[in-house]
Amino acid sequence: MIYDLLIIGGGPAGLSVAKKAYETGIKNMLVLERDDELGGILNQCIHNGFGIEKFNKELTGPEYASLYIEDIEEKGINYLLGSMVLNIRDEGEYKVVEVASKEKGYLELKTKTVVLAMGSRERTRMMIQTPGTRPAGVFNAGLAQKYVNIDGYMVGKKVVILGSGDIGLIMARRMTLVGAEVLRVVEIEPYSNGLSRNVMQCLKDFDIPLQLSHTITEIKGNDRVESVVIAEVDENKNVIESTKEEVECDTVLFSVGLIPENELSTNLGVEIDNRTQGPKVNEKLETNIPGVFACGNVLHIHDVVDYVSDEAEQAADQVHKYLTDTQDICKRQIVLENSDDISYIVPQTIECKHSDIELKFRVRKPASNVRIILEDSEGNVLVNRKKWAVSPSEMEKVMIKGKMLEDIKGNLTLRLKAEE
């Protein structure tokens, strides 16, 4: 048996792909999920704020997931839980997916298309080499969130959080609500890395101090965390020795970024973009390997799940076109480049120029009163849009009209321009 579509991952991206793919007419598909239930990271995100863009409702993570899961059950879409994909092989016309499944044992599944929807993992304390000892009580914020929200355990009483990413902010509030004392959130950048609504609702509303331009210079304690040393950093992120301060605590949470989880993709031969750490894709969200698509956090880190679903639906549409031979095939390849003040842009290439294309990108530093300019190699401007404020914590989007792509020369470059 040969599947039309295998979806690797049953989180928000995978679920959205499955739902949309079914609606386009793809029935012969399977969702592979390594956990014991569908929903991915949404299951532990019991706070609300999901679905505002897509459903015009404020849902919790599990509620958002259940909208898709119920639909999948209703449509009878196949999924396999407790199933870890160990490897994907490209055998030309077919891809072979090797799976270790709790229920079904070792499987090798053949498929015409694959959607990579494995999500991301958290950057760790060790990756940023926060010095000190290695005691219990040091957690990634997402792991602490699982212990508290899924398993129902307390992980500590006096908490310092390093990094003001959204998970860190959400966990500052959550730890407070379950009875811990959150002493402060420490952020090495001079601005928060989370959504501004989270800074307001999770820190300000609970009087939790946010220390910008600060970092943890040492973790102390041999068995359990006993204290951390916190210091201010200068504009080059060098520690200002005179500002060192020891803070007693039993727990440190790290919320220092997410990394797309692409070991399977790399082994398959998918090209990875150093900027996103996700696959390089064209406007069809297709990787360099025909029939292999990517969406969600495995492609680039999203701040809002609604946009993950949107992107996943685009991927599902493209899978349908691939399977029905209605894909736009073009020889040309326009490379999308960005200036230094932009950290990445997705898709990385455009092949066809007759449909509208949404570009997603992030800026490197917060800025206000800027113009977003997209131009070709000869300086012809395709997009020139004013923004009052941009921030690395929020993904930006611009739309290019298909007809504008017809006459462009060379490659495209996206840049910011300060408004006079």
């Binding site: 270790a100 060790m126 080499q129 792991l143 992980v155 500590g156 068995d223 359990r224």
Partner: protein, 478 residues
Amino acid sequence: MKKYDVIVIGGGVTGANALRELSKYELDVLLLESNADFGAGVTKGNGGAVHSGYDATKGSLKAKLNVEAVEMWPEYAKDLDIPYERLPSMTLAFNEEERETLEELLENGKANNVPDLRIIEKDEILEIEPTVNPDVKYALIAPSSGITEPYIVAYACIENAIKNGAEAKASQKVIDIKKIESGYKVITSDSEYETKMVVNAAGVYGDVIADMVNPGKYSITERHGSLMILDNAQGLELKATLFPVPSKHSKGMAAIPACAGNIILGSTAEVMNDKENHAFTRDQSELLFTSASKLLPRLRRKDIIRVFTGLRPVEVNSDNDFVIEEDIDNKDFYNAIGIQSPGIAASPAVGAYVVELIKENHDLKAKENYDKTRKGIVDFSELDTEQKRDLIELDPAYAHVVCRCETVTEGEILDSIRRPGGATTIDGVKRRTRAGMGRCQGGFCESRIVTILSNELGKKPEEILKENAGSEIIIGEE
């Protein structure tokens, strides 16, 4: 009270090898480890290089045992199913002055009877390992060098000794030793044991244990060494362990290809005189990366997944040598202390040497049914398709991948807990199976391993330790 013939204090590679050697004879032997797990002291803070022995001072005990052990390693590793690979080491010289040091090391190595040592030049170096900095001029190559996983050495020896009738107990910190008529009474925080003989293999606490019978005789200082682990997906498969030209106290910041495909950089060397300081500093982690990058310019910072610090016990009156001897005033109290680098490489010979000392005082009777083998935990990720299929058919727990980064299954984790001398802690599971050792550092699997340990040990999740008492991961229910 059961009376033992020999009590070994310390369950690192030294004590574990001594225990295994003793278990070959008709003796009642017991090993006591102060930590909650074996191999969790000096042994765990190590890069895993099996040094060939060219740099140990000629004529030293260290040199003798190192070179003897290198001969033993292939069969030893096979018997005990320990990860081991014979892989040359290359000490890299970038100028003529450094070449002089290579010449001295070559002479020293020859005096130590290290086989096949020679100095090679740039072209040959790059042929062996093309990713070496092309500015390299010369290297001392030691083909008898190798790599292993140090704590697996300790576990393998202890498991094998238990199989042959020995006992081993963790969480037994020795607080006093009293001389009694029949030998010694060894007192731990919650028990007392009587024994005819004692082997002191207590690592950085070797002097503290020795002081209990002969105060002030030995003094151990701690040389702290930080090491750095790079992701096994970093794309470099080194064909040799690479060292810079050494300084007086350290072999320098090496790049060691670990058995599991990672690269380990290290270690730094600073005398700190603190038996419990396992902290690393920013300066050390910077030094590790920048020094190793001089040997291997292709190293990438984004591949760093862990920095850790180990302690090397240095006996201060012994000119950097191992001290393996019977206490001068206390019959049948044997010290095996100051076992710093190359303590891992030398450990099989150290164990045998301890037994030789005992044999000078006693006639030991060999066991008739001694079994020298031990089977390790299967490594699911290394199996081919057919083997994976068969194993899962036999036990479905091998179809449940718990650690995604290192592809470690529930079957492997259960085996690591259930086998004799098995894991009782998160770090114990990690060292035995690699679960949690990968790039996400347990972010995905740690909570799942807490649950497995809790079920297997019949303990509450809040009683599950990361490493030692006081290192509970969670503090209770919400």
